[in-house]
Symmetry: C2
Subunit: 197 residues, 2 copies
């Protein structure tokens, strides 16, 4: 039978995303990734180097996916609440990403460079530019610097996923109500971004 090395690579990466997101880069086990992917552990090392490198590759891939899935242009920027809702939806459908982002944040010492830093900086710059454009055409509250608006969207859309244990403590009545949380998020961001205060 013919080799299918691309498939092997993909199997490893898929398993690695799940393992790293679930366990973090320290507690993740290369043996588990190999077993989950159904390949030999040595394949991981020959294809992707060591554990750190694999984590960086996994993170970069997930960043690309997010960037594709939730674009922000002047049009979408004019309803920022709904945009935040879509970011929330993405996290809900792909909970791996934001966990990886937080693992990175917690494990990266201050000042240390991170994976794909230049691309990510450019990516945020694009979003900020889109927000600024929407502000100039008065479809978005111009009273808040666009960086701060983007920060608010990212933080408000993401916090629940990073600290899920807070849900039960902060909202003890309802046990897990993602639709309600999404609606609240959209409302909050709409208040921040409405043009006429």
């Amino acid at each position: 039978m013919a080799w299918d090395t691309q498939r092997t690579r993909r199997l490893i990466l898929d398993a690695a995303v799940a393992e790293f997101a679930a366990q973090g880069p320290e507690a993740a086990r290369m043996d588990r990734i190999a077993a989950e992917a159904g390949v030999n552990k040595e394949r991981i090392y020959s294809y992707f180097g060591n554990k750190r490198q694999l984590f960086a590759i996994v993170l970069t891939k997930e960043l690309e996916r997010l960037a594709e899935a939730v674009p922000l242009d002047e049009e979408t920027a004019s309803d920022l609440g709904e945009y935040a809702g879509r970011v929330f939806d993405y996290h809900r459908a792909h909970p791996h990403f934001i966990r990886l982002l937080h693992w990175e944040g917690l494990h990266t010492p201050a000042g240390e460079p991170v994976a794909a830093q230049a691309e990510r900086t450019a990516h945020y710059a694009d979003k900020i530019a889109a927000l600024a454009a929407a502000q100039r055409s008065r479809r978005l509250n111009p009273g808040i610097p666009p960086q701060d608006l983007l920060y608010a969207v990212i933080a408000l859309a993401g916090w629940w996923f990073a600290t899920p244990q807070m849900q039960r403590m902060l909202m003890p009545g309802l046990n897990d109500d993602p639709d309600g949380r999404r609606a609240a998020l959209v409302r909050l961001v709409r208040i921040l971004s409405r043009t006429d205060p």
Copy 2:
């Protein structure tokens, strides 16, 4: 010389807070904690049980400290922006806490109970009640459910500390400007909480 077991316990806990916050519960090393505290490793096990238990104790202690340091009553609730600023100040002065909270969030499987859950739930309930009271007396925007307001404050005040690597990418121009970030936070929360929109 007389034994001073209380001092030993405190030394261990202080070292453990620093080590767990910096490295996370997986990468934290009991040997490092012992060395940093200047005591024998065995002391940790006899006083605090195993690594997991020590982490839970550390987290609970830090939660108590935060609760004391940043109380929220009807009075402070009426300037919620400034309250958010003070939460930010606390994180800046004690960066350990929010890192521990995120380590907990990432390492706790969904539905699993967490340390001091009942106390924390009650604590949040108090804060929500204070916000609701300020809303009734019209010193705070009553158009947003108090849980959502509290969520927004926590998320907006905390996000930078959980993902510090994003600072350079989201705000590439200025290299580390905590005062500016604090001011932006206060502004965002004021917009959310102003009574007359």
